[in-house]
Symmetry: C2
Subunit: 228 residues, 2 copies
């Protein structure tokens, strides 16, 4: 019997790198998918490519589409990325870095690829802990999307088994994610988190993503190879 085939959404950050390492450690044949929806910098995409190669994904696909005309978000539009917010602020409300329908689009694209590869699983590193403000990171959102998959795909419609969404990190803290990644041999020096790098191409250390990452490594009691 062959390996179970999976599509793994890979942004290039800590969470998706750990998710890919977990899927591989479970013996899945992993097809990594990186979507560029018009982010401000290419750093994340290059990071994803290096991570896919270093961890041993079966292949890495890169899909570009420009969502900037749709965006209200500070990540794709011209808004200000908030800086140096307190930890309790980061978890509150929907942040200005929210991209409309981001996970819906990512899962739809992963689904298209899964269907054509006859993959049975989609892995996404969504996490409610640090980003409680993103409605599309919640477990109930994932369940609703699985129903869309069941009703909207050839496999589901023909009763040939359903494609499942797996979110192994959904309730983990960033410290747990970092520890698990290190345990599985993820080189976090290859990952990228910063929303708004400096002109020299270094993490800004002030955006929510940098602050959450730093807190995660600190709580895990491990150095961050990207900034050490």
């Amino acid at each position: 019997m062959g390996k179970i085939r999976a599509v793994v959404l890979l942004s290039g950050g800590v969470d998706s790198a750990t998710t890919l390492a977990m899927a591989l450690s479970e013996g899945k044949e992993c097809h990594a998918l990186t979507v560029d929806y018009g982010q401000r910098h290419r750093r994340e995409i290059d990071a994803a490519e290096r991570i896919a190669t270093s961890l041993g994904a079966a292949q890495h696909a890169y899909l570009r589409m420009d969502l900037r005309p749709f965006a209200t978000s500070a990540l794709t539009g011209g808004g200000e990325v908030p800086r140096h917010r307190a930890p309790e602020e980061i978890g509150q409300g929907i942040p200005p870095t929210y991209v409309p329908a981001r996970n819906t689009i990512l899962l739809a694209l992963a689904l298209a690829w899964a269907e054509s590869l006859e993959a049975l699983e989609i892995f996404i590193g969504a996490n409610v802990q640090d980003y409680s403000g993103y409605p599309d990171c919640r477990p109930e959102f994932m369940s609703a999307f699985e129903e869309v998959i069941r009703l909207g795909t050839r496999q589901g419609a023909e009763g040939r088994g359903e494609i499942r969404i797996l979110t192994p990190l959904i309730r983990w803290s960033k410290a747990q994610i970092v520890k698990k990644g290190v345990e599985l041999g993820v080189d976090f020096g290859l990952t990228w988190s910063c929303y708004d790098p400096t002109e020299r191409g270094e993490p800004c250390r002030g955006c929510d993503a940098c602050l959450i990452r730093a807190k995660g490594f600190a709580e895990a009691g491990l150095p961050d190879p990207l900034i050490s």
Copy 2:
């Protein structure tokens, strides 16, 4: 009070043109969205642009992304478009022109735009009658997607009202759609249906889309301005 704002998916064919005309006739402010997912020809996209302008959409957005690496479909890949199938064959099973997760992707993109426009409605010209083989054209698929919208969007999460999916044609025959379009002033000479045009840029008259279109005009007792 202003007009209700809507995103209308516009492929450039008979169904989506009629859907746009219906949304406009209901007094909606329509933002037309055409997605090019790597189809074989540009004819449909040019058609969509002309239809949006002629019917009076508030704006027309065009989004390109290349799904060909994902495709198993004859529409985006290298497979043969089936020709001169009998009407009873066309309605049976999932056709080889099925694009994996097509409507899931289209609705996800429409949702992103709707959220950023603060639109409350998404119109899609999906129709079960002629395409019973496409699982993602069924009403139960649309309801499942509305649940994804409710749980996955800022508007839904904050209880500020939900974005609805409207499918006015879902149970109509092609003849009904043609009649309604003519009644609302749609110039069907601007639309395009053929999956596989001739080298001279004319409809092939043999693919499923051409056959369904011809049957629709015949049953409506109206000439098709595109081929007359």
